[in-house]
Amino acid sequence: MTTPAPRTSHARWLPLVAFAVIVALLAAGVWISRDPDRDALPSPLIGKPAPAFRLPLLHEAGRLVTSEELRGEPYLLNVWGSWCPGCREEHAVINEFAKTRRVRVIGYNWKDEHADALRWLEQFGNPYWMVLVDYDGHAAIDWGIYGAPETFLVDADGIIVWKHVGPMRRDTLYTQLMPQVEALEAR
C-alpha cells in the first residue's frame, strides 16, 4: 500500500471549507431578512432640500400651499390615502406623535378621492395640522414617494433629515423619529 502524498492533506478540507462559506452566506441572508423594513429603499433625498411644490389643501378649497410657506419650523410629512391599509395601521402612532406637539404634522393625501379622505379622517381622527392633496401623484415623484405610508422629517431650513418607508410602529417613533426631533430641537 502507498501512503497518500502529504500535499493532499490540506486539499481534502477544501470541499468542507467551501461548504462552510456557502452556509455562512445563506445564514447571513437569513439574518439580514429578519428586518421587516428590508425592502425600503434608502432615499437619496436625505440631507437635500425638500422638493418645491404647490399643492391644494384637503379642508380649504381653493387655497394652495407652497414648500416656501412651510419654512421656518420643522415639519413631519406623512403620506397616506384612505385606500391604504398600512396607513390605518400606523394612524394611532401618528396620532400619538401629533399629541406631543413637538413638530407640525402635515398630511400628504396621495392619489385619493376627496370624500373618501375626509371620511377616513373623521373615522380615525385627524392628527394633521394641514393636509396637502396630491390627486394625480405627480408631485409625489419629486419626493421619491413610491408607496403609502411614507413619512419625512423636514427641518426649519427645508432640508429632509429623515425618512421612513412603511407603517410607523411605536418603536420606530421612539427609537428613530424622537432622537431626530431632539436633534432638531437642540440646534
Partner: protein
Amino acid sequence: MIRSLLLALVVCLAWPMAARAQVAVDATPLRFEDAAEERRFHRLVTELRCVMCQNQSLADSNAQIAHDLRREVLTLMRRDLSDAEVKDHLVARYGEFVLYRPRVHPATWLLWFGPLVVLGAGGVVIARIVAARRRGPALPPDDTQAW
C-alpha cells in the same frame, strides 16, 4: 338602437365600479407621437426598475407607481431630455436602485467585479492543482489493487 342600449348597459354596470375605485387612477394609455418615440420609451422603461415591486422593470409592472413613473418618463422625454438625463432625474429621487444596470463606482465595484474575482480565484485553484499533478510523480504501478 340595440347598440346604444348595450352601451347604456355597459356604462351603468361600470359606473359604480368606477365610483368605488380606491385609488385615483388615470387609466388612459400612453400615446406616442411616432414609432421612434415608442421604441425609445420601451427601451428606457425596460432599463428602469419598478420601485414598488422590486423584481420587475417599469415596463412589466402594473403597480400604480410604475404607471405614474412611465408617464413621468414620457413627459421627460418630451422635454428633450437625453436617456441619461431621464435616468439621472429618477436616480435623484429614488436612488441608484431604479437602474437595472448600476453605475460603476466604488460602492458597486464588488457587484461589477466580484464575479470576475471569484472566477479568477477558481482559475488559480485549478491551475495550481493541474500544475501540482504534472510536477508530482507518476502514479506508481499498483499491482495489489483489486478492481
